[in-house]
């Protein structure tokens, strides 16, 4: 039985002309100690088209992972997605969808690959059983067909001798192999949309190269859209068609990948690009961004990046910049867009 036959019993929501995913004014808050509220994601909006690869970048604590979890309504308690937020997937409002219907989408039409496969996989089930379980939960496949599908999928993600590997448990596999299992589990039902949260961060560089190649190949074959969360701008350059840069819970820049690398406009993006060590650089001194991401319970007034910014001036302290369009699909949240003559370096205060 082929995969499309397996899934033909599933109701497929109508695909309109709109984007595959449409996130509007997403706010996610966590109660912190002493009545404080951590606004981890503070009003972000973006869309993802069918078949597109979008990278979400930024430092730890800027809200990338919480954004990803929100899309599947998996924000850990006591965090909550606040009223006024909207997430539409194929036109379906995910935030108001009954749990039962949401479950039929998760793992089926929309799937997630986590950074730590060891904690995301069940240690007491063989990896074949775990993949087969996904198939059986979402389709009417028989036990036998689901197992065959799992073995087939393990082969597709490049695991040698998949029939034997399928019977093994997560602890018997290497880190790279476990990540392949996670990918097999996410992709077994050929979802339209896959979220991958730092899928290669824990892996060695030669294994990372294999996994990225695998994701590219699967994307080309299935036409899935991919939201890739990473802090590695090298990975971004190789994978993304579009890039969203987050800082302090907000989108600060968004652009097609070539435009972002050639013409980074937000001082934060500029700083991130300058700070990357490069192979051919030959011991040049690295440019740094002073300080660290502020606490989400206490975002600075005005521009949230101003305390680390080399160009900040008085207006940045008093007025929060809006996200404005500066080119084709290129948006930036910075006052310098209106006052480019202010782009003069000074010693930052941090």
């Amino acid at each position: 039985m082929t995969l499309s036959q397996l899934r033909s019993s599933q109701p497929v929501p109508a695909v309109g002309g709109g984007p595959l995913l449409n996130v509007q004014a997403l706010h996610v808050a966590f109660p912190a100690g002493g009545g404080a509220i951590a606004r981890a994601v503070d009003g972000i909006s973006f869309t993802i088209a069918h078949g597109e690869t979008v990278c979400l970048v930024g430092e730890s604590g800027c809200g990338k992972s919480v954004t990803a979890l929100s899309l599947l309504r998996l924000v850990p308690s006591p965090g909550r997605i606040e009223a006024g937020s909207a997430i539409h997937f194929n036109g379906l409002d995910l935030l108001t969808l009954p749990d039962e219907e949401l479950r039929s989408i998760r793992g089926n039409r929309m799937a997630m690959i986590f950074q730590e496969p060891m904690t995301a996989l069940n240690p007491v089930l063989s990896v074949g059983d775990q993949i087969a379980e996904v198939v059986r939960v979402h389709t009417k496949a028989s036990r036998r067909d689901a197992w065959d599908k799992a073995v087939d999928m393990l082969g597709q993600v490049g695991i040698a001798d998949p029939a034997t590997r399928a019977k093994q448990y997560p602890h018997e596999l290497s880190g790279g192999m476990r990540q392949r299992v996670m990918i097999a589990m996410a992709l077994v039902l050929e979802p339209q949309f896959v979220i991958a949260d730092e899928p290669t961060t824990a892996l060695d560089v030669t294994i990372q190269a294999q996994i990225l190649e695998l994701l590219r190949e699967l994307r080309a074959r299935t036409g899935m859209a991919l939201l890739l969360i990473t802090h590695d701008l090298g990975v971004v350059a190789e994978m993304a068609s579009r890039v969203i840069v987050m800082y302090a819970g907000q989108v600060v820049e968004e652009a097609p990948v070539e435009a972002l690398f050639a013409n980074a406009s937000h001082p934060y993006t500029e700083g991130l690009l300058a700070a990357i060590p490069r192979l051919g650089a030959d011991q040049a001194r690295l440019t740094t961004i002073p300080g660290t991401v502020p606490a989400p319970t206490d975002w600075p007034t005005g521009c949230r990046f101003r305390e680390r910014c080399a160009y900040a001036y008085d207006r940045c302290a008093t007025e929060a910049p809006a996200l404005v369009q500066i080119g084709s699909a290129h948006r930036v949240r910075c006052h310098l867009v209106q006052e480019p003559e202010r782009r003069v370096r000074r010693e930052p205060r941090a």
Partner: protein, 348 residues
């Protein structure tokens, strides 16, 4: 001439090396069965030799399980080596015991990847930095406090932070504390074990710059253990590439990055993602994963994954010696000819 003599010449040092490692080996026993008899060994480090000159940075790179961390710890005798010799300033430190070993440790320090795991959560960072001063009787009382304040300032932290606890700091700040703690006893050599791997790129750049400034100001020598080759390109004078417990290539930084000779190094360099969307570089995708160091392949340990066009039966039988193939450029590969590389190297 032995390859070691070459290494001495290649280090370019008429002076005595600060650190000289010869044939360092660490085998961890594998026990099994009811009686827990030793049935095998994990050859974590298998005959590693290199030298480090005063003020030099030698980077040790390779993937998980290649033995780079074990090598770093064995040099400091945080792990007891199985065999080999380690001479520091001409003293064989493997023969040292008790007080003389403790005195030697003052000169050789380590900065760990995860400073949070290496700092006592119940001790203020001031007390943690002071500890070394007290143990080695370098300062006490008010003099120690002054030294702590000066060290904090030197690593870019405010002196009043001495009264705070590790949890009050960010990852980058904790790494600065770890560096201040290593510096307190005024070592001439520091093993940096993945010191920036856990940090965000902006903070990573701050710590890399700090390590380089300190080296310049204090004449420190580093063994810089890392898996991130781009960071190594910014830090190292020379680079040693490890695979399955052995050094497979050792060369000056420029030579290694411009003309890597060993097929493994070529693949490793080509696998690093390039932060340039217009890059058209081709990538060498290695098949499979590194084999287990408990049961390494015969001959050249890399041969099962090697894509060298001239790979043959000899590679599976003969262990290639680490030989000087170009000036200062040592390679353990039977198929790399002296002076000219047999395959065009990728340009990263």
């Amino acid at each position: 001439m032995t390859s070691l003599a070459h290494a001495e010449r290649a280090a370019g040092t008429a002076t005595v090396p600060l650190l000289e490692i010869k044939n360092l080996t660490k085998h961890f026993p594998i026990r099994s069965g009811l009686l827990q008899r030793v049935t095998g060994a994990v050859k974590a480090v298998d005959g590693v030799s290199f030298q480090i000159a005063p003020g030099e940075t030698l980077a040790l790179v390779g993937e998980s399980g290649c033995g780079k961390t074990t090598t770093g710890r064995a040099i400091l005798r945080l792990i007891e080596p199985t065999s080999g010799s380690i001479a520091f300033n001409g003293t064989d430190i493997l023969t040292l015991r008790g007080e003389s070993l403790r005195r030697m440790r003052r000169h050789m320090q380590i900065v760990f990847q995860d400073p949070y795991g290496s700092l006592n959560p119940r001790m203020t960072i001031g007390a943690a930095i002071r500890e070394g001063l007290i143990v080695h009787q370098l300062a006490d009382g008010a003099a120690a406090d002054t030294r702590v304040a000066k060290l904090l300032d030197e690593v870019g932290l405010r002196p009043e932070y001495a009264a705070r606890y590790p949890h009050e700091f960010s990852g980058g700040q904790r790494q600065r504390v770890g560096i201040a703690r290593a510096l307190a006893v005024e070592p001439s050599f520091i093993v940096c074990d993945e010191p920036v791997s856990a940090l965000d790129v902006s903070v990573q750049a701050q710590v890399v710059n700090l390590l380089r400034d300190l080296q310049r100001d204090r004449g420190l020598a580093y063994l810089f253990i890392a898996h991130d080759l781009a960071v190594v390109a910014h830090m190292a004078d020379r680079v040693a590439v490890m695979y399955l417990g052995r050094i497979v290539e050792l060369a000056p930084r420029r030579s290694l990055f411009a003309t890597p000779l060993m097929p493994y190094t070529q693949a490793l360099l080509s696998a690093v993602p390039v932060p340039d969307p217009t890059s058209t570089r081709t990538r060498i995708l290695l098949p499979g994963e590194p084999p287990s160091p408990a049961n390494p392949p015969s001959g050249c340990v890399f041969h099962p994954r090697c894509l060298h066009p001239a790979k043959d039966d000899a590679c599976t039988r003969l262990v290639p010696p680490l030989e000087e193939k170009a000036p200062g450029h040592f390679v353990a590969c039977l198929k790399v000819n002296r002076t000219s590389p047999s395959t065009p190297a990728p340009t990263p």
